[in-house]
Symmetry: C2
Subunit: 167 residues, 2 copies
């Protein structure tokens, strides 16, 4: 009950104000709980947001696996685009970007391990880093810096880049 209302308040506020403008008292007021409860549970706003954000994209959801690697990658990329088209998820990614770099447990780590899974499938002539560079990076760039171009973003050309390489 309390946790659910906190989660709802955090997601609303992150989408409205941006991840770095959210404070504990703001969340407490909107959630209708006392702010000391939040301080005791998480300590600070960033820990709270990162913790609640962890559950947004299920790591056990399973990856596309039809046997057609190119189609699977395209479906996976489309899944990312759809996910980050939701404002709160985009806002969380931007907030994660602000604190990335130092901590290895950034909000895209799961994405990178998924990329490695695809690169390990038979017939893949590319590495996990290639998937990051050619598929994930352009999508993430658009989410962060050009979100209004996301609805028209077609992952097919990105995935094609993986298969049309020279070396």
């Amino acid at each position: 009950m309390v946790l659910a209302s906190i989660r709802k308040a955090v997601e609303e506020l992150v989408a409205e104000e941006g991840s770095d403008a959210v404070t504990i008292p703001m969340v407490a007021e909107r959630a209708g709980v006392n702010h000391s409860s939040i301080y005791r549970r998480w300590g600070d706003a960033r820990t709270m947001i990162n913790d609640l954000a962890t559950y947004r994209l299920d790591p056990d959801r399973g990856l596309p696996d039809t046997g057609d690697l190119r189609a699977d990658l395209t479906a996976w990329a489309q899944e990312l685009i759809s996910h980050y088209s939701v404002p709160v998820n985009a806002a969380l990614l931007r907030g994660g970007a602000a604190t990335a770099g130092e901590n290895e447990s950034d909000c895209l780590r799961n994405r990178r391990s998924e990329a490695a899974v695809f690169a390990a499938r038979p017939g893949a002539g590319f590495t996990g880093d290639d998937v990051i560079d050619r598929v994930v990076a352009p999508i993430v760039y658009r989410v962060v810096f050009l979100p209004w171009t996301l609805p028209e973003t077609d992952p097919r050309s990105y995935v094609d880049g993986l298969f049309h390489r020279s070396g």
Copy 2:
């Protein structure tokens, strides 16, 4: 004198603490100036940081133009990598990412207009968006999320991707 010490303090603190953790009192103390001077000049921390960050990469520096488009693009990409290998510049980019999306005047706008210049040169079989997707995005992704991979990042394969496309 005052401005120089403020600039130095801001750059140090942004590199150390991250762009969103820098407050006016922190800067004032390290710079040895009164915080009211900073409040009067800039109003708030983000305005200050963005203003001081504006001068980090000269928009009039001129782009490589040897006649060899591929070599020019590679040199330009290498310039980006070198620039963002400096910790303060990477930290500023992460801070810019946190507040991007809404305001169109993000910290990478100049990079996009430069990309368009290359795409307009004779013999370019790609658009400015292609340059963003295939060259700028992977570099920016690494700067933000995987900064330790930056020293080994070679822009050539990214640029090659622009010339080996199918459609």
